[in-house]
Symmetry: C2
Subunit: 216 residues, 2 copies
Amino acid sequence: MARAPEVGSEIHKERNRTVLETAARVICEKGYEAASVQDIADACGLTKAGLYYYIRSKEDLLLEIMNYGMDIFEERVLLPVLTISDPVERLKACMERNIFLVTEGWSKEVTIILHEHDTLTGAARAQINARKKRYVHFLESSFEEAIREGRIRQVEPRVAAFSFLGMVLWIYKWFRPDGKIPSEQLAREMQNLFFGGLEIPAPPSAPPSRKGTNKK
Amino acid sequence: MARAPEVGSEIHKERNRTVLETAARVICEKGYEAASVQDIADACGLTKAGLYYYIRSKEDLLLEIMNYGMDIFEERVLLPVLTISDPVERLKACMERNIFLVTEGWSKEVTIILHEHDTLTGAARAQINARKKRYVHFLESSFEEAIREGRIRQVEPRVAAFSFLGMVLWIYKWFRPDGKIPSEQLAREMQNLFFGGLEIPAPPSAPPSRKGTNKK
């Protein structure tokens, strides 16, 4: 232990981050149940004892990865949009940022948060669930605000929030960074689809009917 | 074996279905890795040897559950809408039926198909993936048709298809049958949201500007 960098030092933090990212990659590839502590230590270039300097247990490691993923999410998606006063612009910016988070390099932490959502137990599970719920609540209250201000149609805010999440988070299941759809196009099309809809409305100003079908 | 019902008989088929549904419930509750063959046999009221009369292996059981789930999906969602000639009506009906499948009692098979998508290997995996891909292809080609016929805006059909799937399939993660949103309302709101969009368009026919900003 004498040679280990001091806890709280920059070097320690950096190494801790590297361990978390490496462990996230292994768990993402093998699944949490199948990935052994030895697999993770091997991938980190550490002995098992060396790995246990950074983590207390495998479940603790999973919790740390999820908290790390939520930190990145809050820093890149949630915090930058909180100050946007118009609720629709706030939601659109949030959607774009969340899409980029899923498509650009952070997808292994996102995948673990989404896919291992039933793996944690007890206090660890409650902690991550509370952080996820804050995001759902942010979306719901932004939709409520947009309805109050007459910016969007009447909709159940909970349905809107989970529709938003479903579209955006499902991306981790099908998107390929080397595929034919660039992430910018994906973000733009999903924003248009979600806020503007797909269907082409019937022509708004047909000439007044000569047959008088519009009379009341 | 002498007392076992003849393979192919109605009684055999019915028992086989019961075994599949019970196994699906156990796997859904515990996860595939954690659920043992003994757990599944116990829940079915069978000995392990008795269970092996119905299944060849645990992985074979998972494949059977997924195929059973896909059978139900095709019977209840896909087949009834294939004959609808208007592509937008076809997609709307498909969305409604898929939402009801997820919300009403079949969610354990759906959950397993979605959640254990990386668990199968080899030919079994290829078989289920091919069935899933047929659904994606059906959605993509329906969106393409709707664009060609001028019924929806220009959109990348793949983005539309996976947005549709994300909204609808994510429901298994948050919907509670005893919650405040009935599944009929959920289906109607998602149809409106997806096809009609959320945002209220700016008033279409503002009086001609007196400032002349519209002159060209």
